[in-house]
């Protein structure tokens, strides 16, 4: 752990009861976000990305969920041990979140000015007029034209991209140290997606914040990430910087994901796909969770939980088979 670490999640375990079984949605995840860095959590749907992010903010509903272990260190405190009142001071103020669906993440009965102003007035306790000026400045920062008029608009009067910009403005309202973005561009079309990604990058640069970006889109990852964590079935399978992941993937799952990307050179040929589907979190296979779908699986994979193998320079992959076999 380096000194400029902003938040570090260590061996986080989040379980949900499903019937009489337990779904281990997040099963021993560790990652850290350094200052002024963009981290991507990549993985298929249902692999525990969102649950990891929500548990940083303490937004996992308990019950039914259960934080079964681990710690989340942020500013010398373990966020998992804070009480609700202290957590509310961190949410939106030090760590904030942008959600997936801009269409449903804004309250339909309030104007966007009310909603952006809310975070400011809760955490900073400013005068009404100062809050308004703050809101206008935020809307300008996220690239919304004629912000003073827009403040009086209701969410249904804005387009999808504008709504996501408003969500980002809300997240920026108190100058947080970390923004968690949970697939913020999934519901948007590709041009708007490019604009939003650009916005994230410029915000991150000008405000020197850290961004934890959750996505399943490798194109997005290549675009904005400094470092990447690949998740599969509740565990981190590979981590490294963007170049290492894209050019030197060491885990069969990451390799499979990259091979499944459409590209110009593969035009006309059949697109690669990883056989099978993500295991149900309540019925995970023993040993390495990826072994039923892995082309390199050997009998030990079924029994032994794989250890992280160090490839140097912060590049780690959880596949001893490929590590010993020299990468194949």
């Amino acid at each position: 752990m380096t000194n400029d670490s902003l938040i570090s999640v260590e061996d986080l375990k989040v379980y949900f009861p499903v019937g009489d079984r337990i779904a281990r949605a997040v099963d021993g995840v560790s990652f850290e976000v350094r200052r002024e860095e963009t981290i991507c959590l990549v993985g298929e749907s249902g692999c525990g990305k969102t649950v990891s992010a929500l548990s940083i903010l303490g937004l996992i509903p308990t019950p039914p969920g259960e934080i079964a272990g681990g710690q989340i260190l942020f500013a010398d405190q373990n966020l998992l041990e804070l009480n609700e009142a202290d957590m509310q001071k961190i949410r939106g103020n030090r760590i904030s979140m942008v959600f997936q669906e801009p269409l449903t993440s804004l309250n339909p009965v309030f104007t966007i000015g009310d909603q952006i102003g809310e975070a400011i007035s809760i955490h900073k306790k400013l005068e009404t007029e100062a809050v308004r000026e703050n809101c206008i400045q935020l809307l300008t920062d996220v690239g919304i034209s004629s912000p003073a008029q827009r403040l009086k608009d209701y969410p249904h009067q804005l387009s999808g991209g504008q709504r996501q910009r408003v969500m980002i403005a809300m997240a920026l309202a108190c100058d947080p140290d970390l923004i968690i973005a949970d697939e913020p561009t999934t519901a948007l079309d590709v041009t708007v997606q490019a604009q939003i990604l650009l916005l994230f990058r410029s915000i991150q640069k000008t405000r020197s914040m850290s961004v934890l970006y959750i996505t399943h889109d490798l194109g997005v990852v290549a675009n904005i990430a400094d470092r990447v964590y690949v998740m599969y079935a509740g565990i981190i399978t590979e981590q490294g910087n963007t170049a290492q992941i894209f050019h030197d993937a060491r885990h069969p799952y990451t390799q499979g994901l990259l091979a499944s990307l459409p590209s110009r050179s593969k035009r006309g040929t059949r697109l690669h796909s990883i056989p099978g589907a993500v295991p149900n979190p309540a019925h995970k296979p023993g040993g390495c969770p990826f072994h039923p779908r892995c082309p390199y699986a050997i009998p030990t994979c079924r029994k032994e939980y794989p250890q992280m193998c160090d490839y140097g320079q912060g590049h780690l992959a959880r596949c001893p088979v490929l590590f010993e076999g020299g990468g194949l």
């Binding site: 903010l57 937004l59 509903p61 019950p63 039914p64 998992l80 041990e81 804070l82 009480n83 609700e84 957590m87 509310q88 001071k89 961190i90 949410r91 939106g92 103020n93 904030s96 979140m97 959600f99 997936q100 669906e101 449903t104 993440s105 804004l106 309250n107 339909p108 009965v109 309030f110 909603q115 809310e118 975070a119 809760i122 955490h123 690239g143 919304i144 034209s145 004629s146 209701y154 009067q157 969500m167 809300m170 309202a173 604009q195 650009l198 916005l199 410029s202």
Partner: protein, 391 residues
């Protein structure tokens, strides 16, 4: 220096897309609402009733009211509507203000028009205050059940409540020493649990503490079963019983009607909250660090208010009807004060000789209740997008 990316980024906002014609929520609502003729009639009568009740309050109260509802002119009893008074037999101050009896006089020669005006205010206040009480309780209970419903009440909470209640009971029942001991025990336990409260994940050690922290019943179940129990009472008879026990006064009636009619609102609010709680915007404001209390009352309540408003409008009609029924049976507002129910009740003895005494208040109740129902249904149709397409 401006790089290319930033330039394209700014270019998108060089020109402005044409804005949709600005329409506030109220304008959009009014546009839909005015298509429903019956609801407009209901709203019109409602406003008329509201104004006449307000004006009536001023005209019939004070030391020298313009229309005196309590002035007895025995020589002028049971005069039909629009009858001219017999000026020879009246003292100058007894002459009706309009120079004729607009709605006739009753068996004591009191002006029915003045009494109707006075009664309108009673009906209005009973309707609004009773429904106000019911809606407040309903929103609170429904909000708790819908938002905190999945939390469980543990065995030690039940024991603690039991200890506190029995302690209070013993103090009230003159066993002061024993009761105070129980109360102190309960309060001490509360203090102790507040002081030692931490987010610890320790498992219970002994079987006794395991029993104490056992989940007994969820908050949702508890509140909804209380609602079910309240709904099982035949509410009119419950009101009759309570009113018979309490001193007769208009405030008691308002409170009792309110306390027996909050169950519908609770169910509405709970149902709305169950669906709203899962909405993304609730998670989003939670991630902004908004407290639970503020989420419930500032963010979720405005989204849940439409069905509550509709049921409240219809509830006012029911409350007016209940009050009239109580007054008719003689359990309502005490006699010198006129209400539509007791004018009707007094008039029933003369139904063949003076039909206006029953007819006028009866029709007034009918029209007001009907108008509230029409207005309420119009509101429901307008506020509920799924019903909107019928028009």
């Amino acid at each position: 220096m401006m790089n290319i990316e930033e330039k394209t980024f700014n270019q998108d906002f060089q020109f402005q897309a044409p804005l949709a014609p600005k329409q506030t929520r109220l304008q959009a609502f009014w546009f839909l609402f005015k298509q429903n003729r019956l609801a407009i009639v209901g709203l019109f009568i409602f406003i008329l009733f509201f104004c006449s009740a307000l004006i009536g309050l001023f005209l019939t109260s004070g030391p020298e009211p313009i229309f005196d509802p309590a002035l007895i002119r025995l020589q002028e009893k049971l005069r039909p509507p629009l009858a001219k008074p017999n000026l020879d037999s009246l003292r100058p101050e007894e002459v009706p203000t309009l120079d004729f009896y607009l709605m006739g006089t009753d068996d004591l020669g009191r002006d029915v028009f003045a009494r109707m005006l006075q009664g309108a205010w009673v009906s209005l206040t009973v309707g609004f205050v009773a429904v106000g009480i019911a809606v407040l309780i309903g929103i609170f209970m429904g909000g708790i059940a819908g938002y905190f419903g999945q939390y469980h009440i543990k065995v030690d909470h039940i024991l603690l409540t039991f200890i506190l209640v029995s302690g209070a009971g013993l103090v009230a029942g003159k066993l002061i020493h024993f009761g105070a001991l129980l109360l102190l025990l309960g309060l001490g336990h509360i203090l102790y649990s507040i002081l030692t409260k931490k987010r610890s994940r320790e498992k219970a050690v002994s079987s006794w503490s395991a029993f104490l922290s056992k989940n007994a019943v969820s908050v949702d179940t508890l509140i909804m079963r209380i609602v079910d129990i309240m709904l099982c009472f035949p509410s009119f008879f419950l009101i009759l019983t309570v009113v018979a026990l309490l001193p007769a006064s208009i405030y008691n009636i308002m409170i009792v009607i309110g306390l027996t009619s909050w169950m519908g609102t609770t169910r509405f609010v709970r149902a709305e909250f169950l669906s709203l709680r899962e909405q993304d915007f609730v998670a989003a404001v939670k991630a902004l660090g908004v407290s639970n209390f503020r989420i419930i009352f500032r963010h979720m309540m405005p989204n849940a208010v439409a069905p509550v408003l509709v049921s409240a409008t219809i509830g006012i009609a029911t409350a007016i009807l209940t009050e009239a029924g109580l007054s008719f049976l003689g359990f309502g507002v005490p006699p010198p004060h006129a209400t539509w129910g007791n004018i009707l009740s007094d008039g029933k003895r003369f139904i063949f000789d003076a039909p206006w005494l029953t007819f006028i208040p009866g029709v007034a109740i009918l029209i007001v209740v009907l108008s509230f129902n029409l207005f309420g249904e119009g509101l429901r149709d307008t506020l509920n997008p799924r019903l909107r397409e019928r028009h």
